[in-house]
């Protein structure tokens, strides 16, 4: 990595370039685009959680005045299984069937048909005119029942993947993942204390404020342009091309500003449908989901059952750990059980462990990525087990974790040896934190837990252009969810040696910049940031060459200092330094406009570890939980924009606390979600939480020019265990299942 000293702008906290337009309402979000002759689309959704679709008749809808197009599953090509789109997508055949049901409706709210009409009202009436014959099937709603040998099958072609031999009978178990090391039996035999438990967590939604929205227009040549809110318009383009069976070159995707995604906007829902409707109608078509549709048909993350057993010696050293995970995939495969298996023991240096995970089909929405997908569910169980061990050993929970903490050189449970990581640094910071040193308030309980996420790198592109006045344009292709344009500006300004204000970063569409994988996996500041730095280095090399030509010296005799070309020490050239503005002004004489570019497949995304702790108070008469204080400590490698790193930590904590205390998908016996709205899907409101205190630990990632580790996902992992352990401390009763809603806590108190 570059010298971490003498940084001028990296690590400062300027206002984000997109901030003013967002707070004044000028920013254009997914639903804000309107076009002449635009039609409004609506989607017909299955009223049954599980049903065979015998017939879809669109003719009455198509005959209505004002209806220009209608589509159903028959209008989309069938895709063979196994075509996989990038990291975020999953199996394209499954994504395609989720976008529009074919032979079966697999959950209540599954898209079955769609129309485009002159108004939303006409479109709604047209939906009523679509005739669908369903053969209603029994819904499979419980993950354990779905795994039973005699369970109703969602997919007769589902043969469990990941077993040593492909089973001869289909089941609802889509995949099995296993990791093991050492001698489990010997490990448990060596333990002085063994704890075990089963922990259940229902589905939870990402809860982004902006519903999915897109507008598509297909011209007479068959070329489509799509505006949408997305975490990755390049991957949306790829998925849409596959699902529609058209060429990538026939699709142009433009990302709007995005009102939250948290992983849930890494996969298409509306875009292929909008393109198909527009193609048939010959007019632009806008599709916007209602909040109810967002809950019923997008997201969520897996509900789970996790069983864990952990043994430790009296000194706190873990001797063996065993876990069994069952994750709900929803109606189609794609549950994050792999990362769940890989993350559960990741913070710890273990000699003996076994973890098995199962991905299970149930008649609920197909799950989508949600911040650190799969890790909160499994790590909640491990962090609760560690809390139980600490209690039995009468050991400080931070000391127990420090005793077993993974460090540089530790072989991760999922294979590689860790490069430098910051887990121990986080634990040490927690031990010294004034909030941890403070007494637990009277009547409250304190909980501690660790968090972790792998982070990814992968492919990114960036271009840097110098305007005629020397101002800098950074063009890249990652939708800005968490302040990434500000981070790109900071890294570009640092590398070029110019002020932050001299740089503007733009998110290009799929035709104006090179491929960037989704804004997800906490990869953007790491991977795209690396591409921006490389493109700036390209600019510097070009500027040095032009200065050398101007001065008549060799380009090796030019150095770049503080945004200017200067003669290298010892070079006898009686010349004035050339700034970016000088070089831009003379560009026509030195070779034309100054451009820099970089593309890469970034390797070495450093894992980010965290320690969180909180003091919670429980009203023992009502079961209500009050969060008195919450502290998040996390390794960011290097915080490019510390305020936005803190924002990620605080936002993840808020979402994790909501998941732990009140959020859940509530189903009736027919598989209909009963709380498909923000009133009864209880995310925390501002007054529910105190200011989340943060401390950024910086153990630089050697693979990034400024030491960056992704920070976006780790923050949601620890809060589930923190809350569970704090409630245990406050009321003296372990509550295994989430959410710890007031009725669940009061029932536990009454049963004690």
């Amino acid at each position: 990595m570059a010298e971490a000293v003498d940084l001028r702008v990296v690590g400062t906290t300027p206002v984000r370039p997109d901030g003013v337009d967002k707070v004044t309402g000028r920013a254009q979000f997914g639903a804000d685009l309107n076009m002449p002759n635009m039609l409004h689309g609506r989607i017909l959704r299955s009223p049954h959680a599980h049903a065979r679709i015998k017939r879809v008749d669109l003719s009455k809808a198509l005959a209505m005045q004002g209806v220009y197009a209608a589509v159903s599953g028959a209008d989309f090509p069938m895709l063979a299984s196994g075509e996989v789109s990038g990291e975020a997508g999953g199996d394209l055949a499954d994504i395609a069937r989720n976008v529009m049901a074919r032979d079966k409706a697999l959950y209540h709210g599954h898209a079955v048909a769609a129309v485009a009409a002159t108004s939303l009202e006409v479109a709604e009436q047209a939906l009523d005119a679509i005739e669908v014959d369903y053969e209603v099937l029994p819904p499979v709603l419980d993950v354990l029942e779905a795994m039973a040998a005699d369970a109703t099958l969602l997919d007769e072609q589902c043969f469990t993947k990941g077993l040593s031999e492909t089973p001869d009978k289909p089941s609802n178990i889509a995949a099995m993942v296993k990791l093991a090391r050492g001698d489990l039996e010997a490990g448990f035999a060596a333990a002085d204390v063994v704890v075990e438990g089963e922990y259940r967590i229902p589905m939870a939604h990402q809860g982004y404020i902006e519903p999915h929205a897109c507008t598509a227009t297909v011209n007479e040549e068959g070329k489509a342009t799509v505006w949408c809110c997305t975490q990755g318009h390049f991957d949306f383009r790829t998925m849409t091309a596959h699902i529609l069976g058209c060429k990538i070159a026939d699709l142009k995707f433009i990302a709007s500003e995005i009102g939250g995604g948290f992983g849930g906007k890494t996969v298409v829902y509306l875009e292929p449908v909008a393109v198909m409707l527009s193609k048939k109608a010959g007019r632009p078509v806008k599709l916007v989901m209602t909040r109810e549709e967002v809950f019923r048909a997008t997201g969520p993350t897996s509900g789970s059952v996790v069983r864990v057993k952990v043994g430790a010696r009296k000194d706190g050293r873990i001797t063996a750990a065993k876990a069994w995970l069952a994750y709900e995939a929803g109606g189609l495969a794609g549950a994050p059980v792999g990362p769940g298996v890989m993350s559960i023991f990741a913070p710890y240096d273990l000699d003996n462990f076994l973890v098995e995970g199962y991905e299970v089909l149930v008649n609920k929405p197909k799950v989508a990525a949600y911040r650190a997908p799969g890790a909160p569910q499994s790590m909640h169980a491990m962090e609760v087990a560690l809390d139980d061990i600490a209690r039995q050993l009468d050991m400080d929970p931070l000391d127990l974790r420090l005793r077993n903490a993974a460090d540089e050189g530790t072989q991760a449970p999922y294979g590689p040896k860790f490069p430098p990581i910051g887990f121990k640094a986080c634990i040490e910071a927690a031990k010294k934190h004034p909030n941890y040193l403070a007494q637990v308030p009277e009547g409250a309980g304190r909980g501690v837990a660790a968090g972790f996420w792998f982070n990814i790198g992968m492919q990114s592109s960036a271009e840097v252009r110098i305007n005629e006045d020397g101002s800098v344009v950074v063009m890249e292709g990652n939708p800005d969810i968490g302040g990434s344009r500000a981070s790109m500006c900071l890294m570009a300004a640092e590398t070029l040696g110019v002020p932050y204000e001299q740089v503007k970063t733009y998110v290009g569409d799929t035709e104006s910049t090179g491929y960037c994988m989704v804004t997800g996996g906490s990869r953007t500041t790491f991977a795209t940031g690396m591409a921006v730095v490389r493109a700036c280095e390209d600019i510097i090399a070009e500027c040095k060459a032009r200065a050398a030509a101007t001065w008549g010296v060799d380009k090796d005799q030019v150095e770049w200092q503080d945004g200017t070309a200067v003669p290298a020490p010892g070079v006898n050239a009686d010349v004035n330094p050339l700034s970016l503005a000088d070089l831009a002004a003379s560009a026509s004489a030195t070779g034309g406009p100054i451009l820099g570019k970089a593309s890469l497949n970034a390797q070495g995304a450093g894992a980010s570890f965290s320690i969180n702790f909180a003091d919670l108070k429980v009203d023992k008469e009502t079961g209500a939980v009050e969060v008195l204080s919450y502290t998040a400590i996390q390794d960011a490698g290097k915080a490019i924009h510390p305020a936005y790193v803190e924002g990620q930590m605080q936002g993840g904590a808020a979402q994790g606390i909501g998941w732990a205390l009140n959020e859940e998908y509530i189903y009736d016996q027919d598989g209909v979600m009963e709380n498909a709205g923000f009133l009864d899907y209880r995310m925390p409101v501002a007054s529910d939480l105190p200011m989340i205190d943060t401390e950024i630990v910086e153990v630089p990632n050697p693979s990034h020019p400024y030491g960056v580790r992704g920070v976006g996902e780790t923050p949601i992992v620890a809060p589930l265990g923190v809350a569970a352990n704090a409630v245990r401390d406050a009321i003296g009763i372990r509550i295994n299942d989430l959410p710890m809603s007031p009725p669940r806590i009061l029932a536990a108190l009454d049963a004690a």
């Binding site: 008469e621 009502t622 079961g623 209500a624 205390l661 009140n662 509530i666 009963e674 709380n675 009133l679 009864d680 209880r682 925390p684 409101v685 007054s687 529910d688 809603s741 007031p742 009725p743 009061l746 029932a747 009454d750």
Partner: protein
């Protein structure tokens, strides 16, 4: 949103004419005060055409009188105006607290007591608070105004006692006696922006020795309609509203409740929590009554 016509009559007589004319022609008319429930319903499940009859231009629906015998609150007065009325807040603090629990600041600029009552939700926060303050509905009717106690107004979930051609004009409350205090508490899993899982209003009047001479207890979200719980009031009358009396009143609330299990809470939970709320609300009402003496 469904199709609708809009009229804003300026007198009770004109409003009744509109309602009568619609009834005679089999057309649907619906009263609009703040619209915080109605507009949501029109955008959601109930998109059938209708005529919206705005009561906000009618003087009697906007009048606020604080008399020495009686307090009159027009059905169309937004709760923000009530919340900011210091005199009203001093007289009926529990009722105003209940109104202030509903909605955000923006919503409170529209939301009304009358609308909250007419919507007839079992969980309406102001209804138990109005019940314990002996609220009486003033109903505009073809035969002249008629009156009905608030506890008799809601007849089922989303159903009220208004006949075709009638509308709610305002609410009357007797001026609270000396040494009277009221309070309302609800339980929600969040701190705001939520709907009561259980609610309880209590009003007590004490004598000079602090002994309860009159009481009323109202509960919400634990039965198809908000209820006035006479047995809970009786448990308080004659006592000093001490812990034992409050526990007895709470037990009476639990006994009176007939809740359901739904996404907001279980039967067992609601029965328990309504008693907790009764104890806590009763203690606040008592302290207010003592402070007022």
């Amino acid at each position: 949103m469904g199709e609708f016509a809009y009229v804003a009559p300026t007198s009770v007589a004109d409003a009744l004419d509109v309602l009568r004319e619609h009834a005679n022609n089999g057309r649907r008319a619906q009263m609009l005060a703040g619209g915080t429930d109605l507009l949501v319903q029109m955008r959601g499940l109930d998109k059938a055409p209708r005529t919206i009859v705005d009561v906000k231009k009618i003087e009697e629906a906007n009048r606020l009188d604080i008399g020495s015998d009686e307090i009159y609150i027009g059905a169309a007065i937004p709760s923000a105006a009530l919340n900011e009325n210091a005199a009203l807040k001093a007289l009926l603090p529990g009722l105003i607290e209940a109104a202030d629990l509903i909605g955000s600041t923006q919503i409170q600029g529209r939301a009304t007591l009358g609308g909250n009552l007419c919507n007839a939700s079992p969980a309406a926060d102001t209804t138990p608070a109005m019940i314990v303050n002996r609220g009486v509905c003033v109903i505009a009717s073809g035969g002249g105004n008629r009156e009905l106690p608030v506890e008799a107004f809601c007849t089922g979930v989303g159903v009220n006692a208004l006949a075709d051609g009638e509308f709610l004009l305002g609410l009357k409350f007797p001026h609270p006696a000396a040494r009277t205090g009221d309070a309302y508490l609800r339980f929600i899993p969040r701190t705001e922006m939520d709907i009561a899982v259980a609610g309880c209003g209590v009003s007590v009047t004490l004598d000079a020795d602090g002994r309860c001479v009159d009481a009323a207890v109202g509960i919400g979200a634990v039965a198809p309609t908000p209820l006035k719980v006479e047995a809970a009031a009786e448990a308080l009358i004659g006592t000093k509203v001490d812990d034992d009396a409050l526990a007895a009143a709470g037990a009476a609330c639990t006994a009176a409740a007939s809740p359901i299990t739904d996404k907001r809470g279980t039967v067992e939970y609601r029965r328990k929590v309504v008693a907790v709320l009764c104890r806590r609300t009763g203690a606040i009402a008592r302290d207010r009554a003592l402070g007022a003496s």
